[in-house]
């Protein structure tokens, strides 16, 4: 633990010569030559870690291109913000369910990633946290993502300086 400055001749001298003030100046001077930490978004972008939790999306099976979702409603159940809305119907052959619509309301979503947890289509979960994070929009409707958007993602917006 840093000791409190004690009284003494040396300390008195230090005080008189404003020593600690010079040390402080030296620190700021030195840091001028350190690499800067600014990332000039949108010109530069930070590198996201593989686990980054962006907006939740659905995905196709990478090989056969089928929808992975089996309409089990688990993500809808576990979602703390009620932002997932699934409509499903019985498959015609009576075995299991078929997805009719799948909506995520990004206005409500808190990006907690809990929906990915229980997804039964392991190891590749149907719902996953994508790396998209630019989702500004001028209309509220733009935040309710239907199945098509969820699967294909929004067209990347072109941010220009």
């Amino acid at each position: 633990m840093t000791a409190r400055p004690a009284a003494g001749f040396r300390d008195f001298l230090k005080m008189l010569l404003l020593l600690e003030l010079w040390v402080g100046l030296w620190v700021t001077l030195k840091n001028q030559f350190r690499p800067h930490i600014t990332v000039e978004y949108p010109r530069e972008r930070v590198e996201l870690s593989p686990r980054f939790r962006g907006v939740p999306r659905l995905r196709f099976h990478p090989e056969n291109g089928e929808e992975l979702c089996i309409a089990c409603h688990l993500c809808e159940t576990v979602c703390p913000d009620d932002c997932i809305h699934i409509v499903s119907e019985k498959k015609p052959d009576g075995k299991g369910k078929r997805l009719v619509s799948f909506e995520i309301n990004y206005e409500r979503c808190c990006f907690c990633g809990l929906c990915v947890d229980p997804c039964p289509t392991k190891p590749l979960t149907a719902i996953y946290m994508s790396h998209d994070y630019e989702m500004a929009d001028f209309k509220r409707e733009g935040f309710v993502a239907p199945l098509k958007v969820l699967l294909n993602g929004v067209d990347p917006k072109d941010y220009k300086e």
């Binding site: 840091n31 001028q32 030559f33 930490i37």
Partner: protein
């Protein structure tokens, strides 16, 4: 009056004043950019970069923004004083520049001698003290007229602060006046030349007292209590916006330049080169040393490029360009560029170099230190600076007595 005299007494001073008033806002705008840049680099970030190349047009953008911004006046404020306050802040700041000599050798323009200062009066220092004591009115009136409690507190703080720090400010320069035997700025620098030494050496205590008191007087960190944004939001100019705010801003930075100039003149030999009487260094006089910043700037620029990229390059590029320009002007006799006056430009070069250093100190302080508290500030002024500056006067007197 004949035409010659008319031009000498009226036209030239008017032109000088006009030049100061017109050039100064531009200088300040870029000083502010430099402040943001340097502060940014100290804080390992990049500072403005979006407007213009490396943010070079940022000051223009800021100025335009301030000009076209809505000029709000609080409803229950005293309109008259509210408008008056920024004006009376700026006027003393600008008026101080009248007696500050940027160099000694006159320029020759259209066959007329134009001094690099507006006037050289024999009570210049007293004039500066008197004028700077008026700057407080803008702060105190602005704070009061805003009819806001935060502003009022800021105004009260600053009035107490500025009154207190004027005393050590005045005492600290008495030593210099005693040594030089004059209160005229030009005479003081000439005395330093005659003495062969900058007064910072015999007046080190006076210099410290003056500089600290001056930082306090200009309300800059670590003495920026009147506008401490963490406590009083923005102190006396909380309610100001648009052009009025810009005027306060202008005054603050003008004061910084004035104070840096005074320190340079009083303690650092004004436009004199280092070791003004050492014949071996006479080449500095005609600008050979300008080579040094050229080479150093080039080296540092290269280094910055290697290590960092981006930000610092700008500074060094500017440094190199400035040094190259200075070199060209200073070597104009050799290069055959007629009409450019070497001694005057050399003086202005040294002067601006020193002033820039002190302006950098201001920014450096801002980047480094916490803020004093009101009572500590008062204690520092009254318990340390005033006794020390009086001690300095006594010491200087003894020194003069002993050495004759």
């Amino acid at each position: 009056m004949d035409r010659q005299a008319l031009i000498q007494t009226l036209v030239i001073p008017a032109a000088q004043i006009l030049a100061v008033v017109l050039v100064l806002p531009l200088v300040i705008a870029y000083l502010q950019l430099v402040e943001r840049k340097v502060l940014g680099f100290m804080q390992v970030r990049l500072a403005p970069r979006r407007v213009g190349w490396h943010g070079l047009l940022q000051p223009i953008a800021d100025a335009v923004k301030l000009l076209i911004k809505e000029d709000t006046v609080p409803e229950k404020s005293d309109r008259f004083l509210f408008t008056l306050a920024p004006v009376v802040t700026v006027i003393p700041a600008l008026a101080s520049l009248a007696v500050i000599p940027f160099a000694a050798e006159p320029f020759h323009v259209f066959g007329y001698e134009v001094n690099p200062f507006i006037t050289d009066i024999n009570v210049a220092l007293l004039y500066l003290l008197a004028i700077s004591s008026l700057g407080i009115y803008g702060v105190i009136l602005g704070g009061w007229a805003s009819n806001s409690k935060y502003s009022l507190l800021g105004a009260l703080r600053s009035s107490a602060q500025m009154i207190s720090y004027e005393v050590p400010l005045g005492f600290a320069i008495i030593g210099v006046m005693m040594l030089a035997g004059s209160a005229s700025m030009v005479e003081i620098v000439n005395a330093q030349k005659a003495a062969g030494v900058w007064y910072v050496l015999p007046q080190i205590l006076g210099f410290f007292c003056y500089f600290i008191a001056a930082v306090a007087e200009t309300n800059r960190v670590p003495f920026d209590l009147p506008e401490a944004e963490a406590e009083l939001v923005a102190g006396f100019h909380t309610e100001y916006s648009g052009m009025k705010f810009a005027l306060f801003f202008l005054a603050e930075y003008t004061n910084m330049i004035v104070v840096s100039s005074i320190v340079t003149i009083l303690f650092f030999g004004g436009w004199l080169r280092p070791f003004p009487n050492a014949a071996a260094l006479a080449f500095l006089e005609n600008g050979w040393l300008l080579f040094v910043p050229l080479v150093a700037g080039g080296f540092l620029g290269w280094l910055a490029d290697q290590k960092l990229g981006g930000g610092l390059r700008l500074m060094f590029a500017g440094g190199i360009a400035g040094a190259a320009l200075g070199f060209l002007i200073a070597r104009s006799d050799v290069l055959g560029l007629a009409g450019l006056q070497v001694p005057a430009v050399s003086g202005v070069f040294w002067f601006s170099l020193k002033v820039s250093f002190f302006l950098f100190m201001y920014i450096w302080f801002r980047g480094t230190y916490p803020r004093y508290r009101y009572d500590q500030l008062m204690a520092l002024g009254w318990k340390w600076l005033i006794p020390l500056s009086i001690l300095n006067v006594i010491g200087t007197g003894l020194m003069i007595l002993i050495t004759g």
